[in-house]
Symmetry: C2
């Protein structure tokens, strides 16, 4: 279950990014996240734990500093014990934004799951602080995380996907990343075939799905966010198939959102937003 | 426009196959087509023109003969003039089923388009004779054919797809093949983004979408048929984007049909058919 939002408080933005966001040119995706964190003077905690590259944290520290951050804390975790350390928890608690880098989402979930750091991230988001993540850092944000599975398939199969618990900032969505680039519609559909209650978000590279406190999703970046709504699903054969057999799924609704379009997770309605001349 | 079906007559089955149908083991896709053509004693005309391999026609001749065909005519066309030749037109006119092999669909459309052979295929189908095709031979069957475009993308782009006129046995569907294997959802969506009136059929390899005379689609084979229904499309940004920019499309409905499930092109309703214990 997602963290309870205190009465009178508003949940913070949840910002899954599809990976490979631009870091050299317009940086529009990272800039948008930075603005949500307060812009100039922001205090950003960066968690590079998913990555096995040593300089991942430094790279984001530099990027956010150049944008005008007042402070950037890079918090790496090599053991679960690190995720109990008071100074690091304090850094999360004082941050005006929390950013989780890419890499392997299982490094994040095995290292942070159930620790005071995970609890602090949830609590801070429930109190209005934006939490963003790219690639693996995007997948971990929701309650049900895609832990692995097959790419390069538009058709769902029984074996397409493995799910695991994530950070649980929201349970309304299941997030997949590098969506277009790695052709992951099949595995996202398979995740929904198990239990259609959630809404699938397939986030392309250099693109963010910005989930607002009001549960309206905006899009930023050069790609698209594919929204898969299985609310009216008539039928799923997931219980009957196994192995590589394709899964029959009838009655899916899909929206391809580009920057400017929106999707409301409460009403399950898409809007062309600023893309539409008539502002429908 | 599709050929007019004479009063009292019933259109024949239209059978797009996604390519790479099994030819060595259960051959269930080809067998199903063969049964539609009348089974034992059937007279099948095979058009291998899309292929650049010399033995493609012979291969299907052998397969259908082994299944019990009374006659198999392999009709190759090297020039448009060949498609005016009386004996070949006669072979189409006496066949109880017409099969078009894979290869390059532009070889088919440039060689046969507007010729007496194309007219004969349309007329025969309008009078009840099944016409099937695999891969390129599947794409050519409909009025609007996907002539080319980019594979490996779930997100539609302005440049994703090139359309061309096909044989025109039906104008209700746009067909794509090798669907899952080459990740062609993006280009099928792009085809519908131009004009959402048609229904997209993405046919996996070793799988057939069997479009019945009643316009109910059945599925045969080991893969799936992805039905994309843009009837309720709220918005398409195709008119506003260019190049590699993603296309915003809101309100698509998608059904993944496996063998046993059906889709009615008239009512636009999917059914789990024999997959559902309750026969919903």
């Amino acid at each position: 279950m997602p963290s309870k939002v205190a009465e009178g408080a508003q949940r913070g933005w949840i910002v899954p990014i599809g990976g490979a966001e631009d870091k050299d040119n317009d940086k529009r995706v990272l800039r948008r996240f930075f603005e949500l964190c307060g812009g100039a003077g922001a205090d950003i905690a960066v968690i590079p734990t998913a990555s096995r590259l040593n300089d991942t944290g430094d790279r984001y520290e530099q990027l956010f500093s150049e944008m005008g951050a007042g402070n950037v804390s890079v918090l790496d975790f090599d053991t679960r014990r690190d995720a109990h350390e008071r100074n690091r928890v304090a850094a999360i608690e004082q941050a005006s934004g929390i950013f989780i880098t890419g890499g392997n989402q299982l490094r994040l979930s095995t290292m942070l799951g159930g620790t005071p750091i995970a609890q602090a991230i949830r609590a801070r988001n429930a109190h209005g602080i934006p939490v963003g993540g790219t690639s693996a850092g995007a997948g971990i944000l929701s309650e049900h995380m895609i832990a692995g599975g097959e790419s390069d398939s538009a058709t769902p199969h029984a074996n397409s996907v493995r799910l695991a618990p994530g950070l649980g900032l929201t349970n309304r969505v299941v997030i997949d990343q590098h969506f277009r680039q790695r052709d992951r519609l099949g595995r996202l559909l398979a995740a929904l075939a198990y239990n259609p209650f959630a809404i699938g978000l397939g986030v392309d590279e250099d693109t963010a799905a910005l989930i607002g406190p009001d549960n309206v999703i905006q899009v930023e970046g050069s790609g698209a966010v594919t929204v898969v709504d299985a609310d009216d699903l008539q039928f799923s054969s997931m219980a009957q198939v196994s192995g590589d057999a394709p899964v029959c799924m009838l009655g899916l609704q899909i929206h391809i959102l580009t920057a400017g379009a929106t999707y409301n997770l409460e009403t399950r309605k898409a809007s062309a937003g600023t893309l539409s001349p008539s502002k429908e």
